[in-house]
């Protein structure tokens, strides 16, 4: 899978990360300042640890892959980038760290669940379900990096190492911002006010320390307030006079105060699942975001088999929605390594358009997904209480 399916994003962010080998430290300013002369014009939308991790890995594998690798990364031509016969090797090499992290997540799930049988079940569900395999190896985005850290954080929570757990979340935010959303729910588990304040401060200090060296207009525009970062809170409805209610933030606030005032002995895992699923249910999400919640859902699936049908249905709908986006690289574009002839195929969006409004179908699926999610959250809270 890793070798055969190609999403162009993996080439774009690896091209950007390749500048680390040339000694570029601040990739955000570098790309903005040199946009005119670079073959690929995109900004670097991820946070600094992504750049250093991918760039560091590339520095190690580039000598093995040969000089053609760097020219392939910088090739802007949409045809020759996929007809290059070495693309299979490049894809395998670039996605190899994902495999290591994928297995690491499975191993941590094994450690997290005490019941041996359930732990083995979680291990197998994680490694052998088509959804995470597609998310990790077909779309090939970088989300597995923060995901592995959030699972590690969960493991530390179980061992009552709360400060280490929030520190890991701060580190995870150095790849992508979303782990910071999980911090408030963990902070409430602090034993006293002082500890709670530290539990909030630590991850933000770590995240700040990672970002400070890069603070510039280019960094703010490219990563901090990019659509990818702010998208989680974009859906809202107007209450007039320019004000709106942000749906994701409402959900997060409700969960936070429920945990603070009503549910005195909270289960952090349930809150994290609820928060992430509310965000996906009430916003236009990118398919790779689903990976954020996948390990946590795996734990629930292993522990409560009654939820299998509901979770499977919600998962299939969640994956189906982005496949209906008007984006070739969600579906047909992934087959371009097989042949450019697949460019001649219409996307599911266009096919559905002939008989039905595809946006309407997306809305139907998203609404059903939101309904299923709300029942799942209710059930999780009910069982745990």
């Amino acid at each position: 899978m890793a070798a055969f399916f190609f999403h162009p994003d993996i080439k774009t962010f690896n091209y950007q990360a390749s500048f680390l080998k040339q000694g570029v430290f601040n990739i955000y300013s570098y790309l903005v300042d040199n946009k005119a002369r670079l073959p690929l014009k995109d900004n670097f939308v991820y946070f600094p640890l992504t750049y250093f991790t991918l760039g560091g890995y590339q520095a190690a594998i580039s000598p093995i892959l040969g000089r053609g690798f760097d020219s392939w990364l910088g090739n802007p031509d949409s045809a020759t980038m996929v007809t290059n016969p070495n693309i299979f090797g490049y894809m395998l090499a670039l996605k190899l760290p994902y495999l290591v992290l994928d297995i690491l997540v499975a191993y941590m799930l094994l450690k997290f669940i005490e019941d041996r049988k359930k732990a083995q079940k979680a291990f197998l569900i994680w490694l052998f379900n088509p959804i995470t395999i597609i998310l990790i190896y077909v779309y090939g985005n970088i989300d597995i990096f923060p995901v592995v850290l959030t699972v590690f954080s969960l493991l530390l929570i179980k061992k009552d190492k709360l400060k280490s757990a929030v520190a890991i979340l701060g580190l995870a935010a150095g790849f992508k911002l979303y782990p910071l959303l999980l911090v408030p729910f963990l902070a409430l588990a602090g034993k006293n006010t002082k500890e709670k304040i530290w539990l909030v401060a630590i991850p933000f200090l770590i995240f700040g320390a990672i970002c400070v060296p890069f603070l510039s207009g280019a960094f703010v525009q490219s990563a901090l307030i990019s659509g990818l970062t702010t998208g989680t809170f974009s859906p809202s409805f107007s209450v007039g006079f320019g004000e709106s209610i942000i749906v994701g933030l409402v959900g997060m606030t409700v969960l936070f105060f429920y945990e603070m005032l009503i549910n005195k002995k909270p289960n952090v895992l349930i809150y994290w699942i609820a928060l992430l699923m509310i965000i996906f249910s009430f916003s236009h999400f990118h398919i790779q975001w689903l990976l954020w919640v996948a390990p946590f859902i795996t734990i629930i699936l292993a522990e409560d088999s009654d939820l299998t049908l509901l979770i499977s249905s919600v998962s299939v709908m969640a994956v189906a929605i982005p496949l209906l986006y008007e984006d070739r690289f969600m579906t047909m574009g992934l087959l371009r390594t097989f042949s450019l002839y697949y460019d001649m195929l219409p996307t599911p969006f266009v096919v559905i358009q002939r008989v039905f409004d595809p946006y309407n179908l997306q809305s139907i699926l998203h609404s059903m997904m939101a309904g299923g999610t709300l029942v799942m959250i209710y059930r999780l809270f009910k069982v745990k209480s």
Partner: protein
């Protein structure tokens, strides 16, 4: 759990080996090559027209695709492609309206398939007599053209370069297309092993 492992293993194998073959059944036309670079533009309006010679690389020639500039859909007139065989006989015509041509859009001039087009030489002219200098179409051309694209002319005068266009053809058979995709794919995949020594 065994069921899940079997399901996922089969799912992956199907996705890699069967799905690409099934999807081929939906391919109605195939390009003969990739579109050459879009370097320069040439205006087409009133009596300004472009002619282009080419050799068809495949049978069943059915579309000629190219990128056209039409800023803000300003030119809402017709643009016509007339296709001639090597004896100068008109064999097909195809017309598009500017309303359907977004700025820089890749558009296809469609016509009924020419079954015996393989290795035949053709030429076409593009004209838009109803357009005016203030609302005109611009066609892309390039210095970096492949050998199957022949001589280009602006108003009957030979010029250097060639239009950035590509021809499309109906596949002779779906099975043949599947074979050609898989053999090309396998030859590129096996090429990987020859790179080990680098």
């Amino acid at each position: 759990m065994k069921k899940l492992i079997w399901f996922t293993s089969i799912f992956i194998l199907v996705l890699i080996f069967i799905v690409p073959a099934i999807m081929v059944l939906g391919i109605k036309i195939i390009p003969s090559d990739v579109q050459p670079p879009l370097q320069y533009t040439q205006d087409v309006y009133q009596d300004l027209y472009i002619s282009q010679e080419f050799t068809s690389l495949l049978p069943n020639l059915t579309d000629i695709g190219m990128s056209i500039k039409n800023p803000n859909l300003k030119d809402q007139n017709d643009i016509t492609l007339s296709l001639y065989d090597q004896n100068g006989q008109l064999v097909r015509t195809s017309k598009l309206n500017g309303l359907n041509i977004g700025d820089g859009a890749f558009v296809k001039f469609q016509f009924s398939p020419i079954i015996d087009s393989l290795n035949q030489r053709y030429s076409f002219t593009i004209m838009s007599p109803s357009s005016y200098p203030e609302d005109l179409f611009e066609l892309f051309y390039t210095d970096d053209k492949p050998s199957w694209i022949g001589q280009m002319q602006f108003n009957g005068k030979n010029v250097v370069g060639g239009l950035s266009f590509v021809t499309f053809h109906q596949p002779v058979s779906k099975i043949g297309l599947i074979k050609s995709i898989y053999s090309d794919f396998i030859s590129r995949f096996l090429h990987l092993h020859s790179q080990k020594s680098i």
